[in-house]
């Protein structure tokens, strides 16, 4: 076996170990399943009450969907890093795994968490909110998938930053919003297009922006993570 191939395997094993560690910790406490599920239910009921049966335009509803998703991500995705600092396990993890393995393990966990959150939110939203109609299903599924990947990618690196600061809760959305705004504006626009009915070709520009946003954010995070992670 070549040495770099062996290194690659070790790296993959470390990444999946970090992911599985978080996964098992999550299954033990069921924090995300309980608290974040309830968060989504609460937010959607607030929207239902504030609409009060009045019809709302597709633009407003497309925007509201991403408001729910943004704040759900903001309340759930910092946990993987904040937990390490609170339990005092960050040092151990620094010794056990290379920084990039930690980053990709945590990113993977947030991607799974984000996928679950998005699925729950979209299903509840579609069932409970009357005016929310989707005409181009394919485009909508593509937008929601890429949107939740982008949300997880940007949230993960900001979570790594705020886990090291003193005020963790309030700072998270403040730091994330300017970074996420390009993504949010694109997905809101694309969701509106999908609910009005559009073709893949018309929404193509949105997909280009989303994919390049994800690539840029993940690459930058990968390059910078070591500075955040190592003391």
């Amino acid at each position: 076996m070549q040495p770099d191939e062996r290194y690659g395997r070790r790296w993959l094993r470390a990444t999946s170990a970090v992911f599985l560690k978080d996964w098992h910790a999550e299954l033990r406490t069921r924090y995300a399943i309980n608290a974040l599920g309830m968060f989504v239910v609460t937010t959607i009921s607030i929207i239902l009450f504030s609409l009060g049966g009045e019809p709302a335009s597709p633009e407003v509803l497309a925007g509201m969907l991403w408001v729910v998703l943004f704040f759900a991500a903001m309340s759930g995705m910092s946990r993987t890093f904040v937990m390490e600092e609170e339990r005092g396990t960050a040092m151990t993890l620094q010794l056990q795994a290379p920084a990039s393995a930690v980053y990709f393990g945590k990113l993977l966990f947030n991607l799974v968490l984000g996928a679950g959150l998005t699925l729950l939110t979209v299903v509840l939203y579609a069932v409970l909110i009357e005016g929310f109609v989707i005409r181009s299903y394919g485009v909508f599924i593509g937008v929601v998938t890429l949107g939740s990947i982008g949300l997880a990618a940007a949230s993960t690196i900001i979570a790594a930053i705020i886990a090291r600061a003193n005020t963790k809760g309030t700072l998270y959305p403040v730091l994330s919003f300017p970074i996420l705004l390009p993504l949010l504006m694109t997905v809101i626009n694309a969701t509106r297009l999908a609910s009005e009915g559009t073709s893949w070709a018309d929404a193509g520009g949105e997909f280009q922006i989303l994919i390049s946003y994800i690539v840029v954010v993940v690459t930058t995070s990968y390059l910078l993570f070591e500075y955040i992670w190592k003391d």
């Binding site: 930053i161 403040v174 919003f177 705004l181 390009p182 504006m185 626009n189 954010v217």
Partner: protein, 232 residues
């Protein structure tokens, strides 16, 4: 001292020229600005508003470059430079937003319209705000320097996306933007007469030099402060 004096003279000349030179429909001499339809006297804002907007972006880039240098060399002086540039950037960003909003009230009818450039300056304000709230939340100096440098780099790589996003969502209102009925293209090249251009670039240079001077002052003050803290 001589440099400071020269900068003072240059700024004075720019300010006098920008305010005092008359705007007439048929400029006769070199000291008269041509009238631009739709802008009239309000065209004078370009001599002050554009340099502040330019500096708020330049200051952000300066801050990011010193942030990168800090990450490479771990020299606290670079962090002082980075945060000083960001502080000045916030000042110029607020100035650009305020002057722009006042002008927009008289030219477009409302203080804020979410025009693409208004949106981008708003995002820049948010980034500056987030940058300083991050800095105030960390007590350990090295950690604060590292994390704020990393944050400014991440912010700098995501901001260029607005260039592609904004045209898809709305057309611009700014003179020279795509939606401008008087023709597309940057206002600097199409509508400014040669003498306006001279004043404009003189103003841009003067304000940039003013920024450099303020920047070195701030860095010196911050260095002295940290020396005093280290002694006391």
């Amino acid at each position: 001292m001589i440099l400071k004096g020269a900068l003072g003279v240059l700024l004075t000349l720019v300010i006098i020229a920008a305010f005092a030179l008359p705007i007439t429909p048929q400029p006769q001499s070199w000291l008269e600005f041509p009238l631009i339809p739709g802008l009239e006297e309000k065209a004078r804002i370009i001599f002050f508003h554009v340099p502040t907007a330019w500096l708020s972006v330049m200051a952000f880039l300066t801050s990011m470059v010193f942030g990168i240098r800090y990450l490479r060399k771990r020299d606290m002086l670079d962090d002082i430079r980075s945060s000083s540039a960001a502080g000045l950037g916030l000042l110029f960003c607020i100035l650009a937003t305020a002057t722009g909003a006042v002008w927009a009230k008289f030219n477009w009818g409302s203080f804020w319209n979410w025009d693409p450039r208004e949106t981008s300056i708003f995002v820049l304000l948010l980034i500056y705000g987030a940058y300083f709230s991050l800095r105030s939340a960390i007590e350990v100096e090295e950690k604060r320097a590292t994390l704020s440098s990393v944050y400014s780099i991440i912010a700098a790589v995501t901001v260029p996306f607005f260039v592609f996003i904004m045209p898809r969502i709305m057309t611009g209102l700014h003179p020279g933007a795509k939606g401008d009925p008087d023709g597309a293209g940057p206002v600097i090249e199409f509508k400014m007469s040669p003498n306006m251009r001279v004043v404009f670039f003189a103003s841009l240079i003067a304000f940039t030099l003013l920024f450099v001077w303020m920047f070195t002052l701030r860095v010196r003050a911050a260095r002295l402060e940290s020396h005093l803290q280290a002694k006391g």
